[in-house]
Amino acid sequence: MGVISAIGNSVAENHQSLKDAVCGVSKAFDLFPTKYAGLLPFGQVPVSTEDLLQQLQVTAPGVTRTTLLALHALNEALADCGISPEDIKSSETALIGANTVGGMCLTDELYNDANNKTDGSDYLESYDCASVNLYLQKHFKITGVVNTINTACSSSANAIMYGAMLMKNGYAKRAIVGGTDCLAKFTINGFNALHILSTDNCTPFDEGRKGLNLGEGAAFLILEKEEDIKGRKVYAELTGYSNANDAYHPSSLSDEGDGPFLSMQGALNIANLSADKIDFINAHGTGTENNDAVESKAMMRLFDKPPAFASSKGNIGHTLGASGAIEAVYSILSLVHQEVYANLHFKNAIPSTGLTPVLAYKKMPVSHVMSNSFGFGGSCSSLIFSKV
């Protein structure tokens, strides 16, 4: 596994920050000029793009921050796994990545190039979402299946699911799966126009929640079949995955939460687990009025009594296309260390649900963790990771 987020540049740093209930979301923002700098809190990765370029020894022109974050996380995952360069290049190794922003973080360059105001910047080939994985494909000389998925905020959960399906269906022996997204003037203004950005730190599942905070980051995981592990370290088993559509509204969830309900239920079916076997849910929990109410309701529909749950959006913000992968890493950390992490900034339960998330770091037995990701277009996905 590899991860980079507002609370750390590695799995170890993220783990420590989760245990310490570190909030990486703040109004200190210096990534690019925007009128919202200092006014809205963001989960900025505290490494400048220049430093990322240097650390990762990227000298080629046209590489975006979105790609650099992905490369950073993928380098860590590959080193952690101990997979050989030959295996990475094997036609049986798939690379499935997700993102929603691509090179749109380069607002000024894109504006000029798209409106024919220049002779062309270095980034002409870097704006679309595919550019991230095309870079990684070339960098690591990957010859297996390569794909980019965009289902908005559930993108990287679907990337993980697609990787697992490739292995199950014999199209890959191993799958490198994950997602990335970086903060962009584009998404800041987009979510702001929808009036769902909180001017304070987000408070997932709290009665007084005022919206989400945007964050950035990347995570990659390496999936291998049980029979191919050959003594390598194993963190967890991906036992369940499912995707369903809420079919209600382009940018909000239905009151009944059919999409979230169906994706959670579908993942349980694939895992062949009854709902009571889930010990912990890493909730989507963005901190918006709509998401948290609907997700709570869907959990209450599916579970007699919802298990312990928490959202890590208070720690890192909503990292959009990266969130499914980052939160998969966090879910797996819960399994490996038999512990759960605090849902930050929560005060009072939503009266209609009465649900209280995990409020402080604690050790507890965790055998199965469910991780939820919901996005625009009604895209709902749930994953289940199990202890090995």
Binding site: A130, V145, V146, A193, N243, A247
Partner: protein, 347 residues
């Protein structure tokens, strides 16, 4: 493996079944812009707010989606759906200096907007995914459909590919040297011998399942690779045919993605050298233009050619055959993303 039961397409050309098949529409201002139907199935209030790729995608899919026999999920490939709305929103950001902006363009700018809209309009709560991997976005959607059907053999899915020529995306690709700089008639596209392709747009939609009744075509195999090495691509095709072509059968039609770009032509010629003498070679990009998901229209043409004759102007090489049962599609996007698809009709 999957079976294709229904197809629909929107492109600059008319549906072969309805039109004079020898007639082809020509580019205007170096673009082969799709001719859109009336979209009677899209509610007018929703239609008004849709960008062109969304209209084409939704408009090509709805005629295939029946209320009495709904599909179990929607699997879409689109490299740039939402791109036009994305830059429109970006222009708002710059123009109004991040002031009070309307979110309409932003909501429609997400890559999964077509599959999302289709889910919404048809109230389809099943599997819903959008693949956006440039020149292999549609191919990954095909692979996804195959895998979903392996797991759920009684299901059916809507599978599609769609992309538009958005004005902003056109500017970016033109600056990058993707398109032909000179005006070229699509009637002499393959003789151009210059770098760049003629840009097109369109949508092709399919209803697919694992059931062999009432099918138009059987898609037996698909393979993809990223490479700039011609010999490797050739080797890959050899392997693909060895693995997937049933003993005793032969490819009788090679549907080539050749697009008049002299930078990718060597790949197509290299693949042609592996074909038997009695394999017809047919091209379609003078009809559709090229774009990341043009191969979806390629698959649509393959389905047509299993049912009816091939227009004369599409042949690169003719054989004595007049009907075809095994079609090999090869597509190459920007000299890097390659796909092979095998389609057949059993009778």
């Amino acid at each position: 493996m999957l079976y294709i039961h229904k197809t629909f397409s929107i492109s600059v050309q008319q549906n072969l079944l309805q039109a004079n098949i020898e007639l082809i529409n020509e580019p205007v201002n170096k673009k082969l812009q799709a001719i859109e139907p009336a979209y009677e199935k899209i509610p007018p209030g929703i239609l008004r707010r849709m960008g062109k790729s969304i209209r084409m995608g939704v408009g090509a899919a709805l005629p295939l989606m029946s209320e009495t026999d709904p599909v179990n999920g929607i699997i879409m490939g689109s490299a740039n759906a939402g791109m036009e709305e994305c830059v429109k929103f970006l222009n708002q950001i710059v123009q109004y200096e991040e002031g009070q902006l309307t979110p309409g363009n932003f909501v429609q700018s997400t890559g999964n907007v077509i599959a999302g809209q289709l889910g919404l309009i048809t109230r389809n709560k099943g599997y819903n995914v959008t693949h956006v991997h440039a020149g292999l976005a549609f191919e990954n959607a095909v692979l996804d459909a195959i895998m979903q059907l392996n797991t759920n053999p009684s299901n059916s899915y809507l599978l599609g590919g769609v992309d538009e020529i958005s004005s902003f995306h056109y500017n970016i690709e033109a600056l990058a040297g993707t398109y032909k700089k000179e005006e070229v008639s699509n009637k002499v596209l393959y003789e151009a011998g210059s770098p760049g392709y003629l840009v097109g747009e369109g949508a092709a939609m399919f209803v697919v399942s694992a059931e062999a009744n009432n099918f138009i075509a059987k898609l037996t195999a698909i393979a993809t690779i990223h490479s700039t090495d011609i010999e490797l691509v050739q080797a890959q095709l050899k392997m693909f045919l060895q693995k997937n072509l049933e003993a005793g059968t032969a490819i009788d039609l090679f549907l080539s993605g050749e697009n008049g770009d002299n930078r990718t032509l060597p790949f197509y010629t290299a693949c042609e050298t592996l074909l038997a003498d009695d394999t017809a070679i047919v091209r379609y990009k003078h009809m559709t233009g090229d774009f990341p998901t043009a191969s979806a229209l390629g698959l649509w043409y393959a389905c047509e050619f299993l049912q009816q004759q091939v227009p004369q102007h599409m042949f690169k090489k003719k054989t004595s055959k007049t009907s075809y049962r095994n079609i090999l599609l090869y597509n190459n996007f920007k000299g890097l993303q390659h796909s092979f698809i095998l389609v057949s009709k059993a009778w």
